[in-house]
């Protein structure tokens, strides 16, 4: 792997470039983004140069699509014919089923490996890019075709993921989308809904809250510009997760109204067990 093209040089794309450099990658890294972003990325040492999409796609050994989901779908359709057959195309979209469908349609004869690094920050954009963003975090992989897992390009890509400290994990795309609807999309909506409820109810007097409220509203700082595509591409899983969550809250509500402490104690017990297991099992746990 001697050349990498990064489509979308923001937090994820920029961090991947910095991580590759830190891990010893000495080949060429080009970026596909607006002229303003490209000149900032060059001056920050994140990419070597900017290129138009078709040119970047035709030249690279690894093509990394780190755009919002709707832009990834458009890029796959636009560059499919330009990608070399020896290249590996991957992405960082937060849902995988619609992206794999687009790849099956437009990337015939190419190696497409869906990807989702389980890393992030509230801060967005190139300025927040960080060579250690993926360290000790799972990087989910959803190959479009099982036989691609035996290709040397795939093996080399996995080795680079390991060198940057990520933990590659192969998943079925539908299973990935179901899992993240629970572990990422639901928590986002839970935090946003909490902050929006408090905004409406206006608890007033500033500072009358515990440190936990800051944790619980951190995700609510995220912009809908990113979440619009994520929710649209995972609608069935997200609605199902919301329904289960609302049912749990209604059980708590009923138990508070009827003073059924045994029921609430059980829910606290289940929740505590899950919260502890998350910290025991998670590669990035304990943080």
């Amino acid at each position: 792997m001697e050349s990498v093209a990064i489509f979308g040089v923001g937090l994820i794309g920029g961090s991947f470039a910095l991580a590759l450099r830190k891990a010893g990658f000495t080949g060429r890294i080009t970026g596909v983004s607006s002229p303003t972003t490209i000149s900032r990325a060059i001056s920050l040492g994140v990419v070597d140069a900017g290129q138009p999409p078709a040119e970047a796609a035709a030249a690279a050994d690894l093509i990394f699509l780190a755009q919002p989901i709707s832009a990834i779908l458009r890029t796959i359709a636009a560059i499919g014919g330009s990608v070399r057959e020896s290249a590996l195309v991957t992405d960082a979209g937060s849902t995988k089923a619609s992206i794999l469908s687009a790849a099956a349609e437009h990337m015939t004869g190419r190696i497409f490996i869906g990807g989702h690094p389980m890393a992030g920050k509230e801060a967005r954009g190139l300025e927040a890019a960080d060579a250690d963003l993926f360290y000790n975090r799972v990087w989910a992989l959803t190959p479009a075709k099982p036989e691609d897992e035996h290709r040397p390009q795939y093996q080399e890509f996995i080795q680079w993921l390991e060198r940057i400290g990520a933990i590659p994990l192969v998943l079925d795309a539908a299973e990935h989308d179901r899992i993240v609807s629970l572990t990422s999309h639901l928590p986002q909506l839970v935090s946003t809904a909490l902050a929006a409820t408090l905004a409406t109810r206006n608890p007033g007097t500033s500072g009358v809250h515990g440190p936990g409220l800051e944790d619980m509203t951190r995700l609510a700082l995220s912009s809908f510009d990113i979440w619009e595509d994520i929710l649209a591409s995972n609608r069935d899983n997200v609605t199902s997760a919301l329904e289960d969550y609302i049912a749990t809250l209604e059980a708590i509500h009923k138990a508070v109204v009827t003073c059924t402490d045994a029921e609430i104690r059980q829910i606290f017990g289940q929740g505590g067990t899950f919260a502890r297991s998350l910290r025991d099992d998670s590669p990035g746990g304990g943080g």
Copy 2:
């Protein structure tokens, strides 16, 4: 103020003792707790000695009740007659209305100032005590009788709160309980319900989640042993907060199902504005 009696030498009681010492308090600090806890507290330098409840109440200038709410209610009934008329009694219970009712009944002729330091940790117990726990955090105060605010004992207590770095804030007890139902009790139930839902739905594969899930399930580590009393003593406010929160989630659910992005964008906007204002305004914000 030359002597302090701390009822309940756990995280809050122990931290208050350590904070007083750090701020230069040189008087006597006694603890009321189990013999095991008292001997640990003495060996850790948190208290000078242990005393039985009535004896501690009769001897102290400041009586600080840092027990669970139901124990505070029992202590108020038990020691009311023993407290000196020159003493100030305060507490650290998470709800205030029921505690002020008990004080009005059992502490006639005494100065009772309800209190609620807006500080905490998931870790409990004396071993987690920390002299800086209250630094830059609001300490809500709900005086039982408005005229008590002019007593010198009250002024001296406020000075000690300021010396330990806390931000004293006087509130009506009912208003306090309404506010914390939104800023503390609702976030706790939201976190517990999220963790319990994930426990039931079993997303499986470990590590497939963003860093946000750890924030969102930190409160779920809390034990129901503490929350049982809090919920029981603030039932109406908590059920109302839960109802508003469930309504917000149902609006999100409907908008996801019907693809009404404008509605979800508005909720993200409200939530983001609240989350940012929390960080701008909060004395302990930005953390």
